[in-house]
Symmetry: C2
Subunit: 365 residues, 2 copies
């Protein structure tokens, strides 16, 4: 056993983790029991459940030797302290969103979604084949963590509003529960972003303490019942056109893993990312129909509103690029792809979808 491997193995707290020199199976595949804290309440079964899938796939890929136990927010670590808990080794892993940590550094936003960014297919292209994972991990390393996408919601909804929003002027003074980068962009148009924990959103909307709130999409939003207190359901959620969840792993712990376990984590998170999108795409359509029947009033943001928000987003990008080199590096990489991707998707995907959407409206599907 090489000295380097002994050190790695010591880091793992197990007898031997070499994948190089030792023939015995037990050493290449040590028994590990890790803990992963989730930022998502158990009631959000697709979000929380994706953490369970990651754990299940890792266990399956390692013949149950690498076990990851998932904990709900607050059981060990509060929801939004997940990244810190992983960084300081309180817990080995977290299932959370990178952009929750936007306050530490705005560059965290690129790990989830940025305003007027990529759709979920494009996110996968950029992350897995456009250098995204490598760029993000250069950055995450500064915080002592390794991160992989672990779930994608697709384009989220714009949220629930107590009154209609027709022009950018209607946004002025609006108290809206919206976090991070999306909130910062809307703030430029006069919105007053509110940070409100999940369970408090509904009563705040009901009392009128806030005027609007964004959450996820029909399937998750239906559970909270927003439509009863803020009936206007706007789309699209342009600040998260394809929002990733992330699995964060303590970097020292990750680096000490046998290669086969590193691979297991990567394959498991990739498969789970595909699963979440597929699952949302299956459960959102009927949820949206139920919401519409229950009285939700679906409204598209007007082109005028979207254009004002797009300009505000560009202003935010310019400001952040000017003062944050990490942010600019990711921005340049993602936006170069965005230009090409939104050209290409006009060619075959969009006309194919458009034609079938027209048939749907005409009752021919």
């Amino acid at each position: 056993m090489k000295r380097r491997d002994v050190l790695k193995a010591a880091g793992l707290g197990i007898a031997g983790a070499s994948t190089l020199a030792m023939p015995a199976i037990a050493q290449a595949t040590p028994e590990l029991k890790w803990r992963m804290t989730s930022s998502f309440p158990k009631s959000m079964d697709v979000l929380y459940g994706n953490g369970e899938l990651v754990a299940k796939y890792v266990a399956e890929a390692t013949d149950n030797k690498f076990q990851i136990q998932l904990f709900a927010p607050g059981e060990i670590v509060p929801a939004l302290q997940a990244l810190d808990a992983v960084a300081n080794n309180t817990i080995e892993m977290a299932h959370t969103c990178s952009y929750y940590y936007w306050g530490k550094d705005p560059a965290f936003a690129f790990g989830t979604a940025v305003p007027f960014g990529l759709n979920s297919r494009m996110q996968n292209a950029w992350m897995y084949y456009g250098g995204g994972i490598e760029l993000m991990n250069e950055f995450y390393a500064k915080f002592g963590v390794v991160g992989f996408p672990a779930g994608n919601t697709g384009a989220q909804m714009g949220g629930w509003f107590r009154k209609e929003i027709n022009t950018p002027e209607d946004l002025k003074g609006l108290k809206m529960r919206i976090a991070g980068f999306g909130g910062a962009v809307l703030q430029k148009l006069g919105v007053i972003p509110q940070q409100i924990a999940g369970g408090d959103i509904y009563p705040s909307l009901e009392k009128g303490t806030i005027d609007a709130a964004e959450w996820v999409g029909p399937y998750d939003d239906e559970k909270i019942g927003f439509y009863k207190v803020a009936p206007y359901y706007y789309y699209p959620g342009f600040w998260e056109g394809g929002a990733y969840l992330h699995a964060f792993i303590n970097k020292a712990k990750y680096d000490a893993l046998p290669d086969s376990y590193k691979q297991a984590l990567q394959i498991a998170t990739k498969a789970a990312t595909s699963d979440m999108q597929a699952r949302y795409d299956m459960v959102n359509p009927p949820a949206m129909k139920r919401l519409a029947q229950a009285g939700a009033k679906l409204r598209p943001f007007s082109q005028q509103v979207l254009s004002a928000c797009f300009d505000a987003a560009q202003q935010s990008y310019d400001e952040l690029n000017a003062k944050n080199a990490d942010f600019k590096k990711m921005y340049d990489s993602m936006m170069a792809y965005r230009r090409d991707a939104f050209l290409w998707f006009q060619v075959s995907e969009y006309p194919a979808d458009t034609f079938l959407m027209v048939q749907q409206r005409e009752g021919k599907l």
Copy 2:
């Protein structure tokens, strides 16, 4: 060891494959060396390469104990005999397309793509969370194979035409290299579908033996150089809006695998499916730009042409549903989802994409 497990193990040709009673690791994770024949030429690196990814991920998930060696078409089995070779146990696995076997039974088409069917995200929703995999495998079992999606191209292009196609009349008498269900639909409009092997398409177009040919999309099509002999590059390829490749496995061999290896195959194929879409979404945009610069003339099929094809497809569906119960079962399941999916995608995904496509055209991205 239970008798059933002894039988299973005998089927594998190894000493012990029980995942139930035997504690020793060597028996839960036997060393297996399988062979997989590809239907895709090595020159099509994304298609062929996805078979390599499946093998790589399975090896990684089993600590290199379950090895799958990939063979190019013709090395062991000709491209389009892949399914038969797996069914009759000439080889353990194939990486191919389900719809290549449409001639055996049209229901094979649902494993890849059907005309005016689902886009690739919807395909994943239906397959993984809409009962698709279960339905397909009930059907595949009749042929002695188990199948999992293993790659998706996204919406393909409509192909290369020597002259413009403006109305359905322009399709009459057109000799087009197009296979399977898409060919059968176009035949109703007067197209004469041609079955031509990959390497012969270009010379056939050059000589004018055929008038048109469909292949995959910009990245793959560019390699063949179609634009030099048939410059009109039509879209969308409405007969394959999100075309899956499949990994087929001999059913007796699959059934005898330890559970952990079955899971490894499922996770590996799911991750590889995500990879192929991501990879195509990264390499197609620049390829399309290069093709346009080289002289390819991009053309959308007119609404009139698409509508005529849609009606012809519906006629084919009606005919096949009337005489093929397996076909109808899959059709009913997929099309119920299609109705809801193309409604839901109009809500957030489509307006988000549309807005950014408009910005792209206006040079703002």
